[in-house]
């Protein structure tokens, strides 16, 4: 216990100082990007934790795009400098990184792959007028109403509308069952594919939701088996999709598997097993490294730079970064609203198709259908 007199002295001194400092409000909220020196661009993705493979691919795509621009002399004579930030898939960490980007004078941001993190960072980036391009595809991102927010790929609606049309029109499948999870990605898939089916007047025979951690799907799969659907739509991340496919075949379910991007990955094929994965129909904006001249060139450069085979996420991030760099060329390195407008004006021919951004920040409005055969993704007939 301290005597009250000492406390009085302490408090008095403290409040005097408080009064003195209260005269001026502290801090300035923005560190504006400078117009000389390198143009700074941030890559924000999970580089640790469960989503880190995604983050690693995206970083490589972005790096490649920047390397190519720098090799050609940069933008308006200035080099582009890429910095990586690890958001750990945690929204709170994301907000700290957003502040770091703002005060660090970054012109633009590539990322993130996690829609929750992207949404958490959005208010800060919006008020600092920093354009960013995410690889997320959640509808919620397009509804943020920020002119600085872009998507480097299609939304779930685009993926699933294309898929649904192919399945019902080209393949003439009649009955559908759906399994989606309640994670950020799965919810988007659930809503988009259900809506697409509804537009064709089809009600799925089973439309069940699972959790991202679930390991056993006997109950839902047996239920589905008894309805004998033509197609089982799987709207979950890679590993879970693989487990669902594997268990479905083990239970004697014969339906065709269909889904979007995660089902095009090697992780899905390995988890399900190549024989199970064969015949899976996938809606994707990036069919293979051999599809076009552009993708061949990209895949070769990627192989050369990182010693591994390119895939969808690297391509998406490569496209997104390239569009941002092209826009910066237009504005001569100037960021802010000018750059965001330039992105919207840009008609960019990328690996994923022709980008044409609408006011929701979506640039790709179509996908193609692929099929897995022999464990590899190829174009569907």
């Amino acid at each position: 216990m301290v005597t009250s007199r000492h406390w009085f002295v302490a408090l008095a001194t403290g409040s005097l100082l408080a009064a003195a400092t209260a005269c001026a409000a502290p801090g300035s909220d923005s560190g504006s990007s400078s117009s000389s020196g390198p143009i700074k661009i941030a890559v924000v993705d999970a580089q640790s934790g469960q989503l880190s493979s995604l983050g690693a691919w995206e970083l490589k795509g972005a790096k490649l795009a920047v390397q190519q621009v720098n090799a050609k002399g940069g933008i308006d004579g200035r080099k582009v400098k890429l910095s990586v930030f690890d958001d750990q898939g945690d929204p709170t960490t994301g907000t700290s990184i957003a502040r770091k980007i703002v005060s660090g004078g970054y012109t633009a941001m590539i990322g993130t792959a996690e829609s929750a993190v992207t949404q958490a960072m959005n208010p800060i980036l919006k008020s600092a007028k920093i354009p960013s391009i995410t690889s997320g595809q959640a509808t919620a991102i397009t509804e943020l109403g920020s002119p600085y927010q872009f998507l480097n790929g299609p939304t779930s609606a685009t993926y699933d509308n294309t898929l649904e049309e192919y399945l019902t029109k080209t393949k003439s499948f009649k009955t559908f069952a759906m399994i989606t999870n309640n994670g950020g990605y799965g919810v988007g898939e659930h809503d988009a594919f259900t809506a697409a089916l509804k537009a064709s007047g089809i009600e799925p025979v089973v439309n069940d939701v699972v959790t991202p951690d679930q390991k056993d799907f006997s109950a839902v799969l047996t239920k589905i088996r008894s309805k004998k659907p033509d197609v089982l739509f799987i709207g979950t991340e890679e590993v879970e999709a693989g487990l669902i496919a594997k268990q479905a075949r083990q239970l004697g379910l014969t339906a065709v598997f269909a889904g979007s991007a995660p089902l095009s990955t090697p992780v899905y094929v390995q988890t399900a097993g190549a024989d199970v994965a064969d015949g899976t129909l996938v809606s994707t904006p990036y069919l293979s490294n051999d599809a076009t001249e552009a993708s061949k060139a990209f895949a070769a450069a990627y192989q050369k730079a990182f010693g591994e085979t390119a895939e969808l996420h690297g391509a998406k991030s490569y496209d997104g970064t390239s569009i941002f760099l092209a826009a910066l060329k237009q504005t001569k390195g100037k960021g802010g609203l000018a750059m965001a407008d330039a992105v919207r004006a840009e008609k960019y021919d990328g690996l994923l198709g022709s980008f044409d951004f609408d006011d929701k920040g979506v640039g790709i409005h179509q996908t193609v259908i692929g099929v897995i055969s022999g464990g590899k993704l190829g174009p569907a007939s």
Partner: protein, 620 residues
């Protein structure tokens, strides 16, 4: 208090002034990124204080703190964005929601403790995550964005610099309240319960109420932190309230020092900053803090807060400074402590107690007149301690009834019995190990109800006044019992004989009408036994009935007015000491050698009585 060196009492406020100035001036010296980090850190600091109150102070393993945090943030987000309420009105709602959640999570703590509680609270935290991930109200995995900026008299709180001051005010208030609780009766009770819930219950603390309170307090801090988080980040999603964040929070509290509120804050600050600093090495950071937690529990269980003491810095009083055990000098404090209601009699009618078919007591009949000293003796395993545990409410008897002071007491729990005037000591000493001797006595002197802790919010001045009065009484009582020299020491650092004296003082401090002593002379030397006899006699003379379970026959014979002998769970003799010693049944029970009966030395008790101490089915 007056013995603290002068330099220290000046240094302390000086330190606080420096800290205060630094905290106030901080926003003027840093950029927008550091201030954001500081803002987040303060949220975690508030959260950590809450966890510290449950885990460190009350010993309740609470892995649902992250859910309280989440509920605070989510309810605020829902009520502002969905229902369109103002921020502060919504804050009140979300605080209430957190408290309700706290009470709900606290209910299992009434039944289970330790790791069971850990897994149940962890499960409930996962249930919360499951709810927010699925519900359409919480907008599932997408989370809720566009939470409004809290309005405050025209101050623009969208500036994180100004938001910092709001957080600072809340944090300081929260810290001050936590310290206030820790240093007054509620905190003392919680610590006592943490150290020994059975003893705390038997000495009158309503353990159930305290556990619920611990969770409630914890949830209030969780809710406040959630509100601050929502106002700062203005977006909530299930990803913000994961189990890994819970473990990070746990690491903060353990590394900082769970038993010290300031330590918890320190841990939150250190780990938040470390996490930010190591953000590019997140996996290694995780590896690192896991390692530090392991090292902390093994080598520094008191955490950062306890480091100065462990390193031998600061004051430390040991042997030489300890002082001496003085004679018992009954005075006004002892007299005041003893209940005005006068001595109570004890009537035991046909009590039986079986443990899983093992009969410990059978048809025990015992009458202890008011104001008498009654000895209960018997060979090891005869059921003496079981009998004491029954009449102090720890065991529910299988059959029979007993009454204290003419009131039927069979159905009363230990806490109610304590309030009714039954006090006891324990065969194996159940002092609150991490409380000082003074706090042990203060705990017993404090007869207020835990349920009345609303006074902390309504009229804190009353709490302070009570505390002053209690402290004055405690000083006197410690002096009269001759243990004033040890007031600031932890009981376990003291010799056995002194600990026995402390336990006796603690029992008397509860204001008993009847005092149950379980082998109070065990481990005492001859002189100490003589002092004990004098103390017991004096207490009886002041108006307390005494029941003495004892092996030291010399003490029993010289002290007791009446003696009952137990053998195999039944009373085989009851009468004056002389009558009992002459009883052939008694002689037979003691292996047919009456001389052994007289010579029984206290320290021979090595094997525990059947179902003696610590047994199951103890009523909390």
């Amino acid at each position: 208090m007056s013995r603290r060196p002068l330099t220290r009492s000046i240094a302390r406020p000086a330190l606080w002034v420096v800290v205060g100035v630094v905290l106030l001036a901080l926003p003027y010296t840093v950029g927008p990124y550091p201030i954001h980090v500081v803002d987040v850190t303060l949220v975690f600091a508030v959260l950590a204080i809450g966890l510290g109150m449950a885990l460190g102070l009350a010993g309740q393993i609470n892995l649902a703190q992250i859910a309280f945090f989440g509920i605070g943030a989510y309810v605020l987000a829902i009520v502002t964005t969905d229902a369109g309420w103002g921020f502060w009105a919504a804050a009140v709602v979300s605080l209430l929601a957190s408290v309700v959640a706290g009470l709900a999570v606290g209910v299992p703590a009434l039944r289970v403790q330790s790791h069971y509680l850990g897994i149940v609270t962890l499960g409930l935290a996962l249930a919360f995550t499951s709810w927010v991930t699925n519900s359409s109200v919480t907008q599932g995995a997408n989370g809720i964005s566009n939470i409004p900026v809290p309005p405050l008299l025209g101050v623009d709180l969208s500036s994180e610099y100004l938001y910092y001051y709001l957080e600072l005010v809340v944090f300081v208030a929260g810290l001050a309240f936590a310290l206030f609780v820790v240093r007054t009766r509620l905190g003392r009770r919680m610590r006592a319960m943490r150290d020994d819930a059975i003893a705390a219950g038997a000495l009158g603390a309503d353990v159930r109420v305290l556990r619920l309170l611990a969770f409630t307090v914890s949830s209030v801090y969780g809710g406040v932190a959630g509100i601050l988080y929502a106002g700062l980040i203005r977006y909530v999603s299930p990803d913000s309230f994961t189990i890994s964040t819970m473990f990070l929070l746990l690491a903060m509290v353990v590394i900082g020092g769970r038993q010290s509120i300031v330590g918890c804050v320190l841990g939150a600050v250190v780990l938040s900053l470390a996490r930010e600093w190591l953000t590019d090495f997140a996996t290694y950071a995780q590896l690192g803090y896991g390692l530090v937690v392991v090292l902390a529990v093994v080598f520094a269980p008191t955490g950062l807060a306890g480091l100065p003491a462990r390193l031998g810095l600061g004051r430390r009083r040991d042997g030489a400074e300890r002082g001496a055990l003085h004679d018992f000098v009954p005075g006004p404090a002892t007299a005041a402590a003893v209940s005005d209601a006068g001595p109570a009699d004890l009537q035991v009618e046909g009590i039986g107690k079986t443990f899983r078919g093992l009969r410990a007591l059978h048809e025990v009949r015992l009458s202890v007149p008011a104001g008498a000293i009654k000895g209960v003796v018997g060979p090891n395993g005869s059921g003496k301690t079981t009998l004491l545990n029954v009449v102090s409410g720890l065991y529910t008897p299988s059959t029979g009834e007993y009454a204290v002071g003419g009131v039927r007491a069979t159905a009363l729990g230990p806490t109610a019995l304590s309030r009714h005037g039954v006090a006891r000591t324990f065969q194996n000493l159940r002092l609150f190990a991490d409380l000082t001797v003074r706090d042990n006595v203060l705990f017993a002197l404090d007869r207020s109800r835990s349920a009345a802790s609303a006074e902390y919010l309504v009229w804190p001045v009353g709490v302070v006044r009570d505390e002053r009065r209690l402290r004055a009484e405690a000083e006197e009582l410690l002096a009269e019992f001759g243990i004033a020299d040890f007031a600031d020491l932890a009981p376990r650092s003291l010799p056995y004989g002194i600990q026995r004296r402390v336990e006796l003082a603690r029992a008397v401090a509860t204001g008993p009408r009847i005092l149950l002593l379980d082998e109070p002379a065990a481990g005492l030397n001859g002189q100490e036994v003589a002092q004990l006899a004098q103390i017991v006699r004096t207490i009886r003379d002041r108006g307390v009935t005494v029941v003495l379970v004892e092996h030291n026959m010399g003490l029993v014979m010289s002290l007791c007015d009446e003696v009952a002998v137990l053998a195999n769970g039944s009373v085989i003799a009851d009468g004056t000491p002389e009558q009992v010693v002459a009883d052939p049944a008694v002689v037979e029970a003691y292996l047919g050698d009456s001389s052994q009966l007289r010579d029984l030395v206290p320290d021979q008790r090595t094997i525990r009585e059947a179902a003696g101490d610590d047994a199951e089915e103890v009523r909390a």
